[in-house]
Symmetry: C2
Subunit: 200 residues, 2 copies
């Protein structure tokens, strides 16, 4: 009964247990029901389902949606070691890239080399935001907190210094790459201002 388990499989399963920690990395957005802070695992799941449903709005319809889904599923894993950096935290952004690269090296190299390289490359592609898949993934990543904010009376928008201009600027990538969704975002921001949830 004592079977031989390969070192490869051991490494893969160790990784799968370590990434359970993503469920404890909290974000700024709150959930629409229980109104508690969302965590990175939930956020990643939400983006993946959004990718399944919204793929028809990508400007370039040769987009590989399976790749977008893989990308959003792993895009925040580095935060297990690097922590979450709030998108309007200018100080936190100064060393974000360096902290996250170290975290990626440490985390992804737990996996067998071929898979470590695949994860690293997917994550880097996401960070660079240049390919059509990365642009679509980034659009979802920036749009999803808006949707949560809109449905929780502008929760994170209540902080000092957050204006509609800043929020719109952060979703600018959608304008060219997912134009119909950008129209939706503009309307959502307009309504949020009208309802006093977001400062103009």
């Amino acid at each position: 009964m004592q079977a031989m388990i390969s070192e490869r499989m051991e490494r893969q399963l160790d990784f799968i247990v370590v990434i359970d920690a993503l469920k404890d990395i909290t974000r700024q957005s709150i959930t629409t029901g229980s109104r508690r802070q969302e965590n990175d695992a939930e956020h990643s799941w939400h983006l993946a389902v959004m990718a399944m449903i919204l793929s028809e709005y990508a400007e370039d319809q040769t987009i590989d949606i399976a790749k977008v889904i893989s990308m959003v599923l792993i895009h925040d894993l580095v935060e297990i070691y690097a922590g979450d950096t709030y998108c309007y935290d200018e100080k936190g952004y100064e060393d974000k890239a360096e902290r996250e690269q170290e975290a990626a090296d440490r985390l992804f190299n737990m996996l067998p080399e071929d898979q470590a390289q695949r994860m690293m490359s997917l994550w880097q592609e996401f960070e660079e935001m240049e390919t059509k898949e990365a642009a679509f993934a980034a659009t979802l990543d920036r749009f999803q907190p808006l949707l949560l904010n809109y449905n929780t009376e502008g929760h994170t928008w209540q902080r000092p210094g957050i204006t509609s201009e800043k929020v719109l600027k952060r979703t600018e990538i959608a304008k060219e790459k997912v134009p119909q969704l950008y129209e939706y975002i503009e309307r959502l921001i307009q309504r949020s201002i009208e309802r006093g949830m977001l400062k103009p």
Copy 2:
């Protein structure tokens, strides 16, 4: 600036907001770090990443892993309306199928018809556990709680009536469809018994 948003997009985005509720459907397993109950959104995310990493162990290597990933991402959505049924709750299982079918009709029909049908069909395929993709998805769904239990001193195994025989039986699908993973499961259960986390 007031753009025309299609009814189709409205339905898709309403759905995306409604499924935020999956983050509040708690499960029996606890997370390895904070030791709180895991929720369905986190669980679905975990399964999707596991599918990315463990696909090489599917007995039938013609398996469509992108489909497995889509399947696990949506497999628990019906619980938003039907609730989570604990896998060893025999009473809860009596009307589980009926409750979940009603929930699926209600939830998936929020989407445009083509997408509603796709979701319904993916979910039904998962439930029937017959295709190679559904068998692999089911294996992950049954293996992941084991992995959490093993790493939280057998948390849910402490309840009355839970034995290694029951736990092993629940993962039986892996024996034929993902045999190398089944060997790992057998070893994990053996060790759990030796360490007093699970009754033989």
